[in-house]
């Protein structure tokens, strides 16, 4: 586990090419030739990561779009982000100090 929290900041890593194919988002890491296929809400989370954003903001956005409570979305979102982290598609930073 990454120690990710609600106020952790999630940032896309560079070097990933993306293309939408139907409902899926295909991703390729040009350095390693590694492919990822994100379907449904996974592709949407990647879009939300266009700019650095917090885990909580991602959960809020998905909760609005899928009409569920943020707390319901949170375990799924964190598990998915853990997968992206494992595959070196994102970095997770501690919250910015005010």
């Amino acid at each position: 586990m990454s120690g990710m929290k609600g106020d952790s900041i999630v940032v896309r890593r560079e070097g990933w090419l993306t293309a939408r194919v139907g409902d899926d988002l295909m991703m390729m890491n040009a350095d390693s030739d590694f492919y990822l296929n994100l379907s449904g809400s996974g592709g949407r989370i990647w879009e939300l990561l266009e700019h650095p954003t917090t885990v909580a903001d991602i959960c809020q956005a998905l909760a609005r779009e899928y009409e569920i409570e943020p707390e319901v979305a949170r375990p799924e979102v964190m598990a998915f982000l853990d997968q992206l982290l494992l595959r070196k598609a994102i970095d997770v930073h501690p919250p910015a100090v005010a």
């Binding site: 090419l17 293309a19 939408r20 194919v21 139907g22 409902d23 899926d24 295909m26 390729m28 040009a30 030739d33 492919y35 296929n37 379907s39």
Partner: protein, 303 residues
């Protein structure tokens, strides 16, 4: 313009724009004996060496090919590599997607038959051509993934590479050139002429890709692949995909493959082994094309 005879190609009656021209010359390649089988030079030229056949040098701009044929080389093998691996290199250099497959013109659109070597692409393409659907290419499908989103296939030359037993079953006649010895996945093969009516200097929109399984079972059936499976299949069938990646064209290859998967339906095609049942396969493809393959293409594209 070519130093070597290329009897498989058609006469071209129109003026070829400068950017489309290609010069093929015989010459000596530097360090040929010690060269690797594939290399990209500092100038980004491509060098391919096929032991026992020839070395091929493709200029960085994709406008010149130099061939050093070995003394023992079978001229048909030299041409087969020129029409295959070298054509793929030229496609990469010119920003085209070379898909491993054969293509015929069905209802004014290109239908692509793709799959692993020896799976029966050329055989099925020949069966389609004999039913009046002009052959557009065999082995390398050169596609222009233009920004408008409709993939366009450029016709190549009206010849198919077939095993001698398949040539005999189609009764393709005496105009076939055969290799001297067995080689590659087809073993001993012949280059057979097919009708030349579609060899006009314009590309055709691609309506469908058929992913061929090895023939087996009793069914003739096509199944639409999911977007993900379509992408995975097409990615696996980029002609000499390793070459594109070694040329640093990962991004181009990825974008083109994804665009093709998004724009065109990809069907898994199951069919029996028996050549006498090829007509059933052809009939299925004809009926599917007339019954709205284009509508399904839109469905896939917009998800």
């Amino acid at each position: 313009m070519s130093d070597i005879a290329l009897p498989e190609l058609c006469e071209w009656s129109t003026t070829i724009p400068e950017q489309h021209s290609l010069s093929i010359k015989l010459g000596k390649l530097a360090h040929y004996g010690a060269a690797a089988d594939f290399a990209v030079t500092e100038q980004e030229d491509v060098v391919l060496r096929i032991p026992g056949v020839a070395g091929f040098h493709v200029s960085a701009g994709g406008d010149r090919v130099t061939i050093q044929a070995e003394d023992i080389a079978d001229p048909l093998m030299v041409r087969a590599y020129l029409y295959g691996s070298v054509l793929a290199a030229l496609c990469y250099k010119r920003g085209l997607l070379p898909l491993h497959g054969a293509s015929v013109l069905l209802n004014q659109s290109a239908i692509i038959l793709s799959g692993s070597s020896g799976v029966g692409k050329s055989t099925l393409a020949t069966a389609l051509a004999r039913r009046g659907h002009p052959l557009l290419c065999d082995d390398v499908c050169a596609m222009d993934m233009n920004p408008c989103g409709v993939p366009l296939l450029w016709p190549a030359f009206p010849r198919v590479k077939l095993r001698p037993d398949v040539i005999a079953s189609f009764q393709l006649g005496a105009a076939v050139s055969y290799t001297r010895a067995a080689s590659g996945t087809k073993g001993h093969f012949g280059m057979a002429p097919i009708q030349c009516t579609a060899m006009v200097g314009r590309p055709f929109p691609v309506a469908a890709v058929y992913a061929l399984d090895p023939p087996s079972g009793d069914k003739v059936k096509r199944t639409l692949l999911s977007a993900k499976d379509a992408f995975i299949f097409l990615d696996s069938q980029a002609h000499r995909g390793w070459m594109g990646r070694n040329l640093g064209l990962h991004g181009q290859l990825f974008r083109h493959t994804a665009a093709l998967a998004a724009a065109v339906p990809v069907y898994r095609l199951q069919r029996p082994c028996a050549l006498e049942r090829l007509d059933e396969v052809v009939e299925l493809m004809e009926a599917a094309t007339h019954n709205g393959a284009a509508a399904e293409a839109v469905g896939v594209a917009i998800g």
